[in-house]
Amino acid sequence: MVRDRTFGSQLFNILNLLLLAVMGLICIIPLLHILAVSFSDRAATIAHLVVLWPIRFNLENYSRILGFDQFRRSFNISVMRVVGGTIIGMLVTVLTAYPLSLRENFMGKSLVRWLLIFSMLFSGGLIPWYLTLKSLHLINNLWGLILPGMVSVWNILIALNFFRSLPVEISEAAEIDGANHLDILFRIYLPLSLPMLATLTLFTAVGHWNAWFDGMVLMADIQKYPLQTYLQSQLQNLSNLTNTVSMDPTLFKYLSERSLRGAQIILTTIPILLLYPFLQRYFIHGLTLGSVKG
């Protein structure tokens, strides 16, 4: 990089940094605003007085939300789907990618590849998908949130390209020493692919945490909603929160729909924010992995 110290260059620098600061602020202000609202009391939030700093700071909204049975139930369902969905998804990804990454040809190899590609190009659409899950008895069933997403073609492609880039000599040597395919995959390939696996695991987990539409369509009663779906139902149906507020006069001073909703939004976002440093470390890696040319 050329370092010049002319007036024009300095001016360019300052304007550039300012413009970027504005862009950064535009992205973070919505979150800060909701955070401030979630800590503020009823009068301030109803009158829309809160901007970026809480007014009459209190934690009542949070203790109220954390006290809701349904919030805790939905949180647990989300955790279960993230854990189950990520483990099963990653297992299917590496098991499918391994045979396809081998140089050795076997009958049907290119057929499997084309099936994978075709499933990316065309889908039956929402209604046949729903009717299929219904006929498989995956409605109102936690497995309905986990199993349908188990084959991710993009993840398989990334894993496959990564496996291909591993030196073939290592697996050949292992094969001569008597290793079978499972040994090669789990004891040689996977330990060598940790950055790729970390990237895909994080993305899969975030995807499961953030998914809400499947929960809304597949779960018949609110008791089985994952957290994001529960939050979405709260956004659509504000009266639920108001009723709980009006029933409890001692808390009336603190709670409002806006601040309760804000607290829910923040609580649902916290797991993502905790993962964010790791996501950031790996996602650039993940994107370049995706662009490896076969």
Binding site: I28, V51, T96, H181
Partner: protein, 315 residues
């Protein structure tokens, strides 16, 4: 060595035909593929077969086997409804706006970030602009519903400058623009990554040569860096062709309201409402199938073009 020879001999003895021997030798590989194939068949291909109900009058109790066939009735009905054209138009307009302005915003952010010499400042701005991408539409939509409404933060900011309030989410003429803008808001930082990666590939010698020739920072950005990432831009343009019918289902389902349906109803939300809320399974499947077929053509074309012009291969 000995082990390999003996296995070779025993297998060829018991399975004299070469084909069967090869097949058996690969059985472990087929077993590894099995879970993925089962998932693919159950959750991708069985629903593809399910599109036949678009040509039926599907009754859930009768199933696909016994429901009466009606040929192209649902497709004919679709094209006689005035709403259909409106919905396709809304979908394409919102999707195109997101593609064009979204790529532009990401490109600009990447060019500006690349000019930052302080590594820490650059990382800070990146952290701030990427974070929204990792939030679900429920979260970001919930925030938008709070800040874009009449008394929300955005309108407070606007009234601070003495301007009249903007009905971002409740005016049919503004709604598509709000969808385009908020989608870019959420995703432009993340979209910049691919351009930033391309910028690191621009030859620094070119940059220095231009500086020696007297080009200022602005000129260098426009005449060295921008042309340097044109191949990436071409690739992104080709690939985005495949999403011309995806206007953003989750975003619009959350932010939509009855006031803005004339400009804010898109194919996916229409299919959801007709199919899963009004139980017109066959008609909704027909609309979805039309979208799927057009999408298949567009995505295939986009991969073909990406391969032709940018040497891109998915496998």
């Amino acid at each position: 060595m000995g082990a390999i020879q003996t296995t070779g001999q025993t297998t060829s003895k018991t399975h004299p035909r070469f084909f069967g021997w090869r097949f058996r030798r690969h059985i472990p590989l087929y077993l590894l593929l099995l879970p993925g194939l089962i998932g693919l068949v159950l959750f991708s291909f069985y629903p593809m077969y399910g599109v036949v109900i678009a040509f039926q009058n599907f009754k859930p109790l009768m199933g696909i086997a016994k429901s009466p066939w009606v040929g192209l009735y649902h497709f004919q009905r679709m094209f006689t409804l005035p709403d259909t054209w409106e919905i396709f138009r809304n979908t394409v307009l919102i999707a195109l706006g997101k593609i064009v302005f979204g790529q532009l915003a990401s490109l600009i952010l990447a060019l500006l970030l690349h000019e930052v010499t302080q590594a820490r400042y650059k990382r800070l701005i990146q952290s701030l602009t990427y974070v929204l991408n990792f939030l679900s539409w429920v979260i970001f939509g919930g925030i938008l519903l709070d800040i874009l409404l009449a008394d929300g933060l955005a309108n407070q900011f606007i009234s601070f400058f003495g301007l009249s309030k903007v009905p971002f989410l409740t005016s049919a003429s503004l709604f598509p623009f709000t969808m385009i803008f908020t989608d870019i808001w959420k995703g432009f930082g993340f979209g910049a990554i691919i351009y930033l990666a391309a910028l690191t590939g621009v030859d620094p010698n070119l940059y220095e040569a231009a500086a020696v020739d007297g080009a200022n920072r602005w000129q260098r950005m426009l005449h060295i860096n921008l042309p340097g990432i044109i191949p990436t831009l071409v690739l992104m343009a080709c690939l985005s062709l495949g999403s011309v019918l995806n206007a953003g289902f989750e975003q619009i389902l959350i932010l939509q309201n009855p006031l803005v349906l004339s400009s804010g109803e898109i194919i996916d939300t229409f299919v959801y409402k007709v199919g899963l809320m009004n139980y017109q399974y066959s008609f909704a499947t027909a609309v979805g199938l039309l979208k799927g077929v057009v999408g298949l053509v567009l995505i295939s074309l986009s991969y073909y073009l990406a391969n032709r012009f940018a040497n891109y291969r998915i496998f």
